[in-house]
Symmetry: C2
Subunit: 323 residues, 2 copies
């Protein structure tokens, strides 16, 4: 699917050759686009990131990340252990100057198109400086990958008034208002602003960002189930379904989480994309697409320039390191 | 609407008699069920809670709360300033022994029926002790008002593994596992468990609880709008809509936020219910229904007995006050 969509993309596949080869065998065109790098070592889904980092040096995940570091690949996509992917990507690809902690970002559908949210769970506790850096990174992502011309950025909070929220969001809000930065800071946004598309970039700490993302997924699932039950409810409804089937199919595609798959680790010096653990082919192809879009749009060069320039000017909010 | 649903309920209405009287005038039956307490003072929507507390002693909100304190009313329902309602309710009705901070709770629809979530924003930062107390209160609420026989309680977190999350949720999880308490502690739940109905009571700090609630509302709105667009999309879909209209109307009612209106301040020695600021008649009647259900089911007596008994046994997790 990814090859058909982006015929010029080549794939390095890391894993057990004996298991991968038969899967590729019957697809001639795909065979030409794929190079298999054999390894039988793999990071287990429940492995601690620190353990994976120490003992997973020959794992498929680590070798794939190292291929990005060594510029053999433009990006890595994995549906494996999130914590391990994060830890290994950070270790191997390194963090951008001016960024204290990378963040996980993803697209989602809104009433006004698509928006980006970060952090989605990489950093459970965040300082104001972290949030400011997320805002910077999210804005570059929305501009280069989403194609937003002048992305607006909002801070996720429990109210829009200045006094609302905890210390981090209030301090971050002050910094975003006062710092010189190249984007439009909208102010605080609330949970319902996410799907409304009030801003192009929603900035949150990893705890509430993760909860918001999963709550939205759960609510969409609930609604889909209620809709299914409504159409099963009566003969009339079943007839109605037959007429509306195509429109409803389009609706399903529009909210299909597989079409929004692929969370990106922003703040690294290379492209690293996490596909959902339960990804099927369509979902994984979408995640590949995120990496392809980032590579084709020169995301890493862009973010390096912007974040590191601001950092040198002392405006990324990074705390000075005491000597 | 509320009178028709609960013909034995009487209403004390606090506010400007000159404005209320004409509204009641043409409804003979309602007139008999209503007593108007005249006052022209009112808390403004943007008034600071501390200001309302100091200078709003003759406001309609305060007089209505005081009527609960003086046992003239069994509960108060207001669609006014949330912070002021919370502050005044706490001041006038007092907090239960064993509870450090009251919390806001509300019902919501799930795949398995209805569940309760708290805190929804009263406490932006919460200690482990606060979360344990929310669990206790939420359980009594689910049992007495929702009618759940053996409610299960979960802690909202970013993963289900023991090591996930921040200090408060991890410590609270340990306390809920080890403390003797009269309910089933399920463990951590994630954002998508809320709509799945994995547990009867979802316990969260006020920051992420508020964000989860509003994200769910926003996602439901988005889905409703996408559904509307799908049916407008083609002639076939429009025909389908005609057949399925009744079923879709039922679906809309099922996810109608007005049917889940009414957030309760739990942890007080009296019933105080907050209706949404944008409540229409149906929404406000639902909020009245929450207060009626709580009163009829003896919620305050129940929670007093349970929380205060546990408190005396030293098991509510309330921090000992240093002398």
């Amino acid at each position: 699917m990814a090859r058909r969509r982006w015929p010029d993309v080549r794939f390095l596949v890391f894993g057990d050759e004996a298991r991968i080869k038969p899967l590729v065998k019957r697809r001639q065109r795909l065979q030409k686009a794929i190079t298999i790098h054999h390894t039988t070592s793999a990071v287990a889904p429940d492995e601690k990131p620190s353990v994976a980092l120490r003992s997973g040096r020959n794992s498929s995940m680590r070798l794939a990340i190292d291929a990005v570091r060594d510029e053999e690949a433009d990006g890595i996509v994995s549906a494996g252990n999130t914590g391990a992917l994060m830890a290994m990507s950070k270790f191997s690809l390194k963090t951008l100057a001016g960024i204290d902690r990378p963040a996980m970002a993803s697209f989602f559908p809104t009433l006004r198109g698509e928006s980006v949210m970060l952090d989605l769970g990489a950093n459970v506790e965040c300082t104001a400086e972290n949030l400011v850096q997320f805002a910077l990174m999210g804005e570059v992502f929305a501009r280069t990958v989403l194609g937003a011309l002048e992305p607006t950025v909002g801070l996720l909070n429990v109210g829009s008034e200045e006094l609302k929220g905890n210390d981090s969001v209030r301090t971050a809000a002050g910094m975003l208002r006062d710092l010189e930065h190249p984007f439009k800071y909208h102010g605080f946004v609330e949970g319902d602003d996410i799907a409304a598309g009030t801003v192009d970039v929603v900035v949150a700490d990893g705890f509430s960002g993760n909860i918001a993302l999963k709550t939205a997924e759960g609510t969409a699932k609930l609604y889909t189930e209620f809709l299914r039950e409504a159409f099963r409810n009566s003969v009339m409804a079943r007839i109605g379904y037959l007429f509306a089937r195509r429109a409803l199919k389009k609706l399903r595609a529009r909210v299909d989480p597989r079409r929004y798959n692929g969370a990106v680790f922003l703040g690294l010096r290379g492209i690293s994309v996490k596909a959902h653990g339960g990804s099927d082919a369509l979902a994984f192809a979408t995640a590949i697409g995120v990496a392809v879009d980032m590579a084709k749009n020169g995301f890493i060069e862009q973010i390096k320039t912007e974040v590191e320039t601001l950092h040198e000017a002392g405006r990324t909010g990074q705390r000075a390191t005491a000597l």
